[in-house]
């Protein structure tokens, strides 16, 4: 990476070769960002323990510039969703995501965060955090080993390398709109789905009226 960074394909006069480096804005910008990815200190479940393991001496992800875990979303670059996302927790997660400053990335660590995993069918589990917030890297495993987490974070670094300052969303004109925060109702409610919920609830009501015994009797009497 470093050699590539310093090789812009411009000719540098020999007398200043050791004092001047020429590179592109994208490269230097991405290089500095990818090597200081600060994760948010935010453990959800079992995977969080492996995340701690990845931070500790044997695996040590500070070798890749990720050692600074921040408890505040304002100071974090990447949110590692490490564990099962429950319906009770998702409003907080969305709020935390909204509070993170751009550029921000999300890593879904483990099958629970990716798709609900072994707990998917349960009544209180969100089947994947990507139903609410955009995910950049999915890491399979239950829980993924620290090596897998490192590999996932390196995949994220590769993604950052390919971004260009001209096209990234956080330098686009206009306000970025926060993700609407889900509401805890009789079940989890996504504000973007309110119309659908209303429509389906009406349909359910009609179906119930159709099959209820009084209606069947009425229908019979009409026929008779």
């Amino acid at each position: 990476m470093d050699e590539e960074l310093n090789n812009p394909k411009y000719e540098i006069p020999p007398e200043i070769q050791h004092q001047v480096a020429i590179t592109t804005v994208d490269k230097i910008y991405n290089w500095s960002r990818r090597n200081s990815l600060w994760p948010m200190m935010f453990g959800l479940a079992c995977c969080a323990v492996e995340m701690i393991g990845a931070a500790a001496s044997r695996y040590d992800f500070s070798r890749f510039g990720m050692e600074v875990m921040r408890a505040s979303p304002r100071q974090a670059d990447v949110m590692i969703v490490s564990g099962t996302v429950t319906k009770k927790m998702i409003p907080t997660i969305v709020r935390l995501y909204n509070q993170m400053g751009e550029p921000k990335y999300v890593v879904a660590m483990g099958v629970c965060a990716s798709s609900g995993g072994p707990f998917k069918e349960g009544y209180s589990v969100v089947p994947g955090v990507d139903r609410f917030i955009p995910v950049d890297v999915y890491i399979p495993g239950c829980p993924p080993t620290p090596q897998a987490l490192l590999y996932g974070l390196m995949a994220l670094q590769e993604k950052i390398d390919q971004q260009s300052i001209q096209t990234v969303r956080w330098y686009k004109k206009g306000d970025s709109s926060p993700i609407p925060i889900p509401v805890l109702g009789p079940d989890l409610m996504d504000p973007r789905d309110f119309d659908l919920i209303k429509r389906r609830a009406q349909e359910n009501l009609q179906m119930e009226e159709q099959v209820s015994p009084t209606n069947i009797e009425e229908a019979d009497s009409h026929v008779g």
Partner: protein
């Protein structure tokens, strides 16, 4: 509350309450039914006269075919001995049962849980709220006629995920393409979230008692659910006067993964990997408890070698869990991450052994009914010996040299968060929390399971019940674990590790069983009811972390807010087990 007990106290009691008691004679079941109105007086006599001072577990059972709801209590004596099982029955439609909180304050959260998941209303409970789900959630999920949004079939294994050669996904079945369902004619615009109003109201009503003459404002502070000191997604709501905690309420459920509902759909063997994910730091102990409960029902006994392997794994787990928790207690005291790094170094070495034995670092899924899934590979016993005889004692000494007499540790921990002995028993605290308060109660000694009666070890206990004693108890328990490990490694025989052929589908006769082990966090119990079918009818976990939290507000009262963080660290909760 330590009362003198006569050996025939329970017999007196049974004859005195003869009219309202009825022995449970269903085959495979035990214990007594009691009439609802006699429950409280009988339990008072049970506690004060017969010496059953420790109410370990309270849970509900939905007897859907008989249209009845049942509440099952497991009482123990803190001086040791088997359980006394008491049951109460009520109608499924209007389930009201008197609360036992005045007698055994430790049932507070367990009764909340039964209300939350089964809809059993406990009359006289001081703060009956939904504890795992949120206020306003529709329905009681553990009832047998309640179906979750992604419902596929009553029982596993499902007939086919590929009907007519097409993959069937639950998302496509659900009209919302998501894991949700709403009542008919529900209008989301009219919905007002219940929020935390009831919680804050309950909290501030507690603070009004001891107001001083000074006019100060009480402020309510939320620690969590996203907070670096809560060891996961746990929330403490604290009412403060200055820096002093007036009252505290733990709020949980942020990791509620419907362990029990899934467990009742799964076959018996399918539940084993789910138990790993309860207390994810000590998965081997969880396997142990569940295997014991089902083995009781099946009446099988593992071969000798398997028993030794089980004990070795359980004690390594205890060491791992305790060293991890001490590392993170220091984190909470402000020694950020350095002591934890020392702990994690040892943890990695133990995880290597688990990985060699079971194939996975954390989620071992190693135990089976009647043994363990496979024998230890070559060389692993040698590795364990090296660790147990040489490295771990040395590292433990090093740990102690840094911490035990460290001034800062002592100033922060001594006399902080005291739980008195009678409070600890009443609040059903378990494990190091109970023992640090002066009760030498360890299931391995009090009600020996597996082969623990063969080993020579002591029960560590403290006298002061403060954070420092909990730390010392954990250190001493690690030493005792090493002692057990040395004996087990010396005596381990050869032979088979599994009783009979390994089976995917075990036959479990009808009946109930309560299997309990002394896990690293405390008494871990599994209450399993089988009706002879391939799936358990009721599957309940007595989670020590969850019940130990009942005592958090007692300990935190009148402490400083900074100490609450250390206090939580000293209880050593794991959220997977708290919320299940």
């Amino acid at each position: 509350m330590l009362v003198k007990t006569s050996s025939d106290g329970i017999k007196d009691l049974l004859s005195r309450y003869g009219d309202s008691l009825l022995a449970d004679t269903r085959p495979g079941f035990g214990g007594y039914f009691i009439k609802t109105e006699q429950l409280v007086p009988f339990c008072r006599s049970l506690r004060d006269e017969a010496g059953y001072d420790y109410l370990s577990s309270v849970t509900g059972v939905d007897n859907f075919p008989e249209d009845q709801m049942e509440v099952v209590y497991h009482f123990y004596k803190t001086i040791g001995g088997p359980a006394f099982v008491l049951k109460v029955q009520a109608s499924r439609h209007e389930t009201v049962i008197p609360s036992l909180t005045p007698l055994y304050p430790g049932v507070e959260f367990q009764e909340c849980e039964a209300w939350d998941l089964l809809g059993i209303r406990f009359e006289g409970h001081p703060d009956l709220r939904r504890i795992l789900m949120w206020e306003g959630f529709e329905g009681f999920p553990l009832r047998k006629d309640w179906r979750e949004p992604f419902f596929e079939d009553e029982n596993k294994p499902f007939k086919s995920r590929w009907p007519d050669g097409h993959v069937l996904r639950t998302e496509e079945e659900n009209p919302y393409k998501n894991n949700v369902q709403y009542p008919a004619a529900f209008d989301p615009d009219q919905w007002i979230p219940a929020g935390d109003a009831a919680l804050y109201e309950g909290l501030l009503s507690l603070t009004k008692e001891g107001q001083s003459d000074f006019k100060t404002d009480h402020i309510v502070v939320n620690l969590g659910p996203q907070h670096p000191s809560t060891h996961g997604v746990f929330r403490m709501v604290v009412a403060l006067e200055g820096e002093t905690v007036l009252s505290l309420k733990p709020v949980m459920g942020y990791l509620h993964r419907n362990h029990e509902k899934i467990g009742e759909r799964n076959t018996f063997v399918q539940n084993m990997p789910f138990t790993d994910r309860l207390d994810y730091i000590s998965s081997m102990s969880n396997n142990f408890g569940y295997a014991l409960a089902v083995e009781k029902l099946m009446d099988v006994h593992p071969p000798e070698r398997a028993e030794y392997i089980r004990v070795i794994m359980a004690e390594l787990t205890r060491f791992l869990s305790h060293i991890f928790s001490i590392g993170f207690l220091l984190n909470d005291l402000g020694a950020f991450f350095t002591p934890a790094l020392y702990a994690i170094e040892e943890r990695e070495l133990i995880l290597d052994i688990f990985e060699a034995a079971s194939g996975s670092r954390m989620m071992c899924n190693y135990f089976r009914f009647g043994g363990v899934v496979r024998d230890l590979p070559d060389g692993v016993l040698g590795k364990i010996k090296d660790l147990v005889i040489d490295r771990l004692p040395r590292k433990l000494d090093e740990f102690e040299r840094y911490l035990t007499k460290n001034d800062i540790v002592r100033v922060r921990c001594e006399g902080v968060g005291v739980l008195k002995i009678e409070e600890a028993i009443g609040l059903s605290a378990a494990g190091p929390v109970l023992r640090a308060s002066g009760v030498p109660y360890d299931v391995r000694k009090a009600d020996p399971y597996s082969i623990y009666d063969r080993f020579d070890f002591d029960v560590a206990y403290g006298l002061h019940g403060d954070i420092y004693d909990r730390y010392l108890v954990r250190v001493e328990e690690m030493r005792q674990s090493l002692r057990i490990l040395k004996q087990a490694l010396r005596d381990i025989p050869g032979g088979a590790v599994m009783n009979g052929k390994p089976q995917y589908q075990v036959r479990v006769p009808a009946g109930e069983a309560y299997g309990r082990v002394e896990g690293p966090k405390g008494e871990l119990g599994f209450y399993v009811i089988s009706n002879g079918k391939p799936n358990p009818w009721r599957y309940h976990v007595r989670a020590p972390s969850f019940i130990n939290l009942t005592s958090l507000s007692t300990m935190a009262k009148n402490q400083k807010i900074a100490d609450v963080v250390a206090l939580l660290g000293s209880i050593d909760i794991v959220l997977g087990e708290v919320d299940r």
